[in-house]
């Protein structure tokens, strides 16, 4: 039987009188890569932030490994240490080297010794292909390298699941590939991942399940083949077609320009 890592039940969230999440439910199983797609401003990021308790949902319940984390009195810091998060704008700690960024959670949150933390952090940096950049500061790294350090920082904590919030949206096109490559490898290594992205290629190839969210509700979810080729809801077809068309046009324009 597959084990459920994250279970979200009927989540509601309002911002300034605006409904951002309207009763979202979601299950993520161990080793699964779930890709969340949808138009901007439909609550995808909010959903991720609710899952790791950075934002407090108004209503609804969330479980991590069969433990309800939305109950009062739950140690939120402890919960977050089991949930990795990768942000659109990297958010590396600017005063620390790449190595320091990966180490700080190990030493200050998990209480690991400096030496042990260092060797673990080096291993994680090697995993994202940045062992040679360990001593560089974020200001000296490219966007793609920064995001890979951010992934290593999340990985180092040995999280049950990693949440990716549009991890490639702030990157130059030629840097997107290296980040997606790292994520693809993680997915194949069996890391449980929830990914909000507009990268349809990644979604199609890597996702076990795609969840299409619009206006705070799940419109449709299923394996990529189903959503891309036989969507049950007309709106899904429309959205996916628009995205593919958009990217197609973009590529054509680039080709014409060259």
């Amino acid at each position: 039987m597959t084990k459920t890592i994250i279970k979200v039940e009927n989540l509601f969230k309002q911002y300034g009188g605006q409904d951002v999440l309207k009763g979202i439910s979601l299950t993520v199983n161990e080793g699964e890569t779930v890709v969340i797609i949808g138009p901007s401003g439909t609550g995808k990021s909010t959903l991720l932030r609710c899952i790791n308790l950075l934002t407090k949902a108004d209503r609804g319940r969330i479980w991590l490994d069969d433990r309800e984390i939305t109950l009062p009195g739950v140690d939120e810091d402890e919960v977050r240490s089991h949930i990795g998060m990768v942000f659109q704008d990297f958010l590396l700690f600017n005063h620390l080297t790449a190595l320091g960024n990966v180490m700080i959670g190990l030493t200050k949150v998990l209480g690991m010794s400096h030496d042990k933390a260092k060797s673990k952090a080096m291993a994680e940096l090697a995993r994202v292909g940045l062992a040679d950049n360990a001593d560089q500061y974020p200001g000296q790294l490219s966007g793609g390298q920064k995001q890979r350090v951010a992934i290593a920082r999340a990985l180092a904590m040995d999280p049950r699941v990693i949440l990716f919030d549009e991890p490639t949206s702030a990157l130059d096109p030629e840097l997107i590939g290296e980040v997606l490559e790292v994520m693809r490898k993680l997915a194949y290594d069996g890391m449980t991942m929830v990914v909000v992205t507009h990268e349809m290629g990644f979604a199609r190839e890597v996702a076990d399940r795609i969840v299409f969210i619009e206006k705070g509700s799940v419109v449709e979810e299923g394996p990529p083949v189903d959503l891309f080729y036989r969507p049950k809801v007309e709106r899904t077809r429309e959205f996916l077609w628009k995205l593919t068309e958009l990217y197609g046009k973009h590529e054509r324009k680039q080709a014409d320009g060259n």
């Binding site: 402890e78 998060m85 200001g139």
Partner: protein, 226 residues
């Protein structure tokens, strides 16, 4: 000109004693101000409603009134509450409280320039708020604050001259005595000006040295962008 240099040379030993007091007033005031100002800034940024109001109240009170008034209240007013202070202690406390209010605002600016993102990233790996402030926010904010904050030691050193009004034997007090003895106020105060200039120059050099030592590649730019 050469006459003045001889005069300057003759009064220098006396002024030197006063200058030492001025430096002490500045450093102690700065230290007290740091110890008060940093928590006040943190309270203002991260505190709950009432903590925040308390911090704002302190900051506005001490920025909004002349340091001279603050000094008089501490020196002449505190004894009414059973707290009699030496002249020097009163000056330390008044300058410290005053500097704390200004330093708090420098620190607040730097903390806010770091941005919410850093706090969010720190919380996301499981740090408590306190740990995030200690290990992520402050190491960046304290570096970022150096250029604007470097005004404060200079301003405080010059403001410390008010201590002469409660007869603390600082540079100004010494100067007043020398001017009266030598009937040469202009020469004396010019000498005092030169000493203040030299002290400010030294302070600036020290701060620049610290800033260079703590520099981290890209930190300034990164902080401005977020």
């Amino acid at each position: 000109m050469s006459e003045w240099i001889v005069f300057f040379w003759n009064i220098l030993p006396d002024l030197y004693d006063g200058a030492l007091i001025t430096v002490r007033l500045t450093l102690v005031g700065l230290g007290i101000g740091f110890v008060i100002g940093l928590p006040a800034a943190l309270a203002r940024v991260y505190g709950g409603k009432w903590i925040r109001r308390l911090a704002v109240g302190y900051i506005e009170l001490f920025r909004g009134t002349p340091v001279l008034v603050q000094l008089f209240v501490v020196y002449f007013g505190f004894p009414d509450f059973g707290l009699t202070l030496s002249r020097l202690s009163a000056a330390y406390i008044a300058l410290g409280l005053n500097s704390g209010a200004f330093q708090a605002e420098y620190f607040r600016g730097a903390i806010q320039a770091i941005g919410d993102g850093q706090m969010m990233a720190a919380r996301a790996i499981g740090m408590s708020r306190l740990k995030a402030i200690r290990y992520v926010i402050l190491p960046q904010a304290l570096r970022l604050v150096i250029p604007p904050w470097s005004n404060e030691p200079i301003a405080l050193m010059k403001a410390s001259a008010v201590a002469f009004l409660i007869a603390v034997p600082d540079l100004m007090t010494k100067a007043k005595i020398i001017a009266a003895h030598t009937y040469n106020p202009i020469g004396t105060y010019m000498a005092v000006a030169v000493i203040y200039l030299v002290l400010v120059f030294l302070l600036t050099a020290i701060i620049n040295f610290i800033e260079r030592r703590l520099r981290i590649p890209g930190l300034e730019m990164e902080a401005q962008r977020t």
